[in-house]
Point group: C2
Chain length 210, copies 2
Amino acid sequence: MVRERYGSAMADKPTATDADGRKPGRALRADARRNRARVLQVAAEIFATEGLSVPVHEIARRAGVGTGTVSRHFPTKEELFAAILLDRMEHLSGQADALAEGHDAGTAFFTFFATLVHEGAQHRGLAEALAGAGYDVETAAAEAGHDVPGRLRTMLARAQESGAVRADITYPDVKALMAGCLSREVDDAHGDALIRLVTVVCEGLRARPS
Amino acid sequence: MVRERYGSAMADKPTATDADGRKPGRALRADARRNRARVLQVAAEIFATEGLSVPVHEIARRAGVGTGTVSRHFPTKEELFAAILLDRMEHLSGQADALAEGHDAGTAFFTFFATLVHEGAQHRGLAEALAGAGYDVETAAAEAGHDVPGRLRTMLARAQESGAVRADITYPDVKALMAGCLSREVDDAHGDALIRLVTVVCEGLRARPS
DNA sequence: CGACAAACGGGATGGCCGTCCCGTATATTC
DNA sequence: GAATATACGGGACGGCCATCCCGTTTGTCG
């Protein structure tokens, strides 16, 4: 059987000392900011391609920093997970705003839907692990101003008003369809299969000229 | 953050000594057979409700056996996972055969579809973990004579021939829809939400009188 | 019923990983 | 350019868990 870890133990009561959610005091030192971003990026890639069980030491090694640096920025592995997701949410809500501005309602919605599916294909496990731990990513993101679901909901409504999307579709329908595209059945997250699925779903959502 | 383990480390190269896949020699002693079945059942329940990271010791404790007994029957945790899934597959293919015999093609298909979704809701993580480890459950099950996908495929074909299911549906479509029903969005695996989703999907699959 | 092998129990072992700590290096500030 | 707090590196610690081992129990067969 292929080499694979399932996960790894985690402290029950992490002694949360500093979540880098620092509002007060000084700003982060320049190198600290760089390192933090680098860890976040490397960790996102590694977790996406190799699973959540990759040791934090390994993340640090590949990011070219010491383990202490990682755990100072993200006191627990769980907080690292959350930070990655929040970071992605920030990107996504930025993209959403750009799309909403530069395209007609239909195009914006369909494009954003596809973006979300591809993003989801990358970080599937992450979101599940945090959800399983009772961490509500969407709410946390919304509080940080990166309300991706809200934006999707708005885009859906506009697309429907403009006649690009069937009027009988609801937001939960869209979420379920998205989840369907993300099923394990679609093996490779980058492959054609995913693109085909998204295409099919979008076609299904599109309002028929009738 | 709520107490939650993500998983647990596992040996890279399990010294596979005995997989209980014993064809030759003596049959299992009566008590051994009992214990094996009991562990399998208890483990399936626990993994389904509490996640895959529950320690093997805990499984043994709750099954009322020693850890040695568990690891003799299932040398590694991974083999325990696989055994559970194979066991479920056996149940399922039995149900499939019974359904195919006792009902019309349409009812058989829809009922089995619902059964699969509910089963999937239980053992979601299990299948994912094994798939991630490169273990092909479906093939293994097929080799053991419990070819669930094959049966579903057959039932779909018959249901389509009989006019109960839309003719333009393909088997992969069905798998994707099934996966959609199993999305994390449907929180409680026993709740009404899942039943509603299944109902909707089945209605969608049903051939319209036109 | 007695003898033997199969199976059991659960403690011991080894390894892995998250987290903490502290001496060192470096960005920032005056 | 010096002083100082901030951040870094990576080794060490502690805990957890899968697996193994071996003395003991129990089913099986003659």
